[in-house]
Amino acid sequence: MKYKDYYQILGVAHSATAEDIKKAYRKLAHMYHPDVSKDPAGEEKFKEVAEAYETLQSPDKRAAYDQLGAHRPGEDFRPPPDWEQQHGGAQFSFDDLDLADLFAGLATERQRAGHGAGQLRMPGQDFEATARISLEQAYHGTDVELQLSMPEADAQGRLHRVPRTLRVRIPKGATDGQRLHLRGQGGKGLNGGRDGDLWLRIALHPHPLFRVSGHDLYVDLPLAPWEAVLGTTVELPTLAGPVHLKVPANTQAGRQMRLAKRGLPRPDGSEGDLYALVQIVVPATTGEHERQLYEQLATGSTFNPRARFGKEMNSGS
């Protein structure tokens, strides 16, 4: 079993009072609580902090923890020989045990002792996990394999951390931040208690072409100045393959061209839209012939792109 220094995690001295411990925990919870923190590593840090607080806030658990002795964080250790008997008489298998499970097991033993052995019905723990998938996987639906480590009780009620590989079908309908609910796929319940649930958050990898908003997609559509003026038909990539898009004459930069139902599928079977955002781009360098053509245009055209400036300034005075 690997040692964790709960005092160090909370940033308090071994002599800290219960009030000091609560204060330190609250400060860290403000920083790292996954529901309020924007720190991407916050969730992992908060798990550590919550685990440390869970043990140190209870006088019994804190005393039991202190009796484990001082070790370096991460060091492999075993509790002193009579430790189990002193703290509830639980029979632990220490080899595949996490320190948090040791104290969770301790609490379960005490509750059992109070309610008669084996009688206490306890629901399994809910788990939250994130599945990172590509936009293409969200579009078509996909299978993901989740590697989870869950505490489970064996026939003797001893807790073990059990690795579980869960294959989850992510059906069509996903978008960034969406949740899947998997009933009964969390931690196992004890003594007939219901199994916990797994809540899976979908996170989409950024795509080089498409930007996502809900189930709508946005893609830039660069046009040459003459394409925007004369109109054209372009091949536009979509998640279902390229489509031909007719760009009308005199299309302005910034225009959003909507391609209905070319976005991501929604859970109810409808589809989001794809928006092509028109950009007018000019060549980085211009050859002599092209330059002459532009000069002819500049001389021959009566178009004033800044006509509005004069009008607005005059009306404002």
Partner: protein, 108 residues
């Protein structure tokens, strides 16, 4: 070790949950959920009806409420305020995400 296969259900706005389901899924007592509704932090789809139903987003909100209440030991009114503000942040982030998606990238 063979992978176990699990069926999954999307949590969506259109999916409806009863108050009893919200209690079961969040672990918050019914009385506290009723308080969240009273303070306007949780909005049933049918506030006038005798049996309320809630959207999938409400399930996610009350699960967050349960975690926050446990971690910060908040009393119901403070919890309602936090839940309302988190919901506002969620809506603003979604709006910001839409505005960001609508901004053309610099042409190369």
């Amino acid at each position: 070790m063979a992978a176990e296969h699990a069926d999954a259900v999307w949590v969506t706005e259109s999916q409806k949950y009863s108050l009893a389901e919200l209690v079961a899924l969040s672990g918050l007592p019914e009385a506290e959920l009723r308080e969240l509704v009273e303070y306007g932090a949780l909005r049933p789809a049918n506030p006038e009806a005798a049996s309320w139903v809630f959207s999938g987003q409400c399930v996610l909100s009350v699960r967050a409420a349960q975690r926050i209440r446990g971690s910060f030991e908040l009393e119901p009114q403070s919890l309602a305020l936090v839940v309302s503000l988190l919901e506002r942040i969620r809506e603003l982030e979604a709006r910001l995400g839409q505005v960001y998606a609508q901004q053309p990238r610099k042409a190369r």
